[in-house]
Symmetry: C2
Subunit: 116 residues, 2 copies
DNA sequence: CGTATTCATCGTTCATCGCCGATAAACGAT
DNA sequence: ATCGTTTATCGGCGATGAACGATGAATACG
């Protein structure tokens, strides 16, 4: 009946989007690098990645748009930092999904409809 | 120094691959549906998703290839189930990465070279 | 045998990704 | 005023992804 089956919920889209932002070796690497420094500029990331500066800038933008990295366009150089809260939140969301999957209860199927 | 900056490690690629498999609303939905049933056939998933059967079959294949779903081509209908162990492993890997990021220690930058 | 069901695969179309070089904007320094 | 540095964005290109319909294989039922 209510096999809702309609368009994806905003929550699904959001989660998929963040996972997508994470789903690239260069971006994982960027996150790791960022995590090792209080603040990084773009050039610094470029130097640890051997990709073109424009490419790195785009990867950074993807992470920022996904809400995983904090960005401040300060003047001599921009500032990028890991958004630890967002990352923790993502981890929690994913853990919740996975826990539901591992529990294997039919409820987990209906839960996705309630939020819609 | 150790700004290794070379090609991505296999681990990074693997993690990125699995995250990529997860990074689609339809596939998240499939995983949730699968988690609510001991075993599903393709048609059943199709009915809860309103995508074409061929499309669903491909999404399923992506999840299987990523090692997140177990597949047995039994005869009347195929059997798909969540690979709970793999999912748990992914959760652990990601949690580790995120924890490293949230700790914010420079070590986390070197960790990526060692083993994990 | 013929039909219906289920499913994987193929071929196609269209959109998006990933990468690059080039360029322009915003400074600091000379 | 003119460099040099840093960075974001643009345009383009090849590759990949996502979706579909059509097709064929395998099986169950008449």
């Amino acid at each position: 009946m209510n096999t809702i089956q309609g368009s994806p919920t905003p929550i699904e889209k959001m989660l998929a989007g963040r996972l997508g932002a994470l789903a690239h070796p260069a971006r994982l690497r960027i996150l790791q690098h960022l995590s090792g420094h209080p603040a990084c500029c773009c050039k610094e990331v470029v130097e640890c990645l051997d990709l073109a500066q424009s490419t790195v800038s785009q990867h950074l933008k993807i992470l920022v748009d996904a809400g995983l990295v904090i960005y401040r366009p300060e003047r001599p150089r921009s500032v990028y930092q890991v958004d630890r809260a967002a990352l923790a939140g993502l981890s929690t969301s994913l853990a919740g999904l996975i826990e539901a999957c591992c529990a294997g209860e039919p409820q987990s199927c209906k839960d996705k409809n309630s939020g819609n």
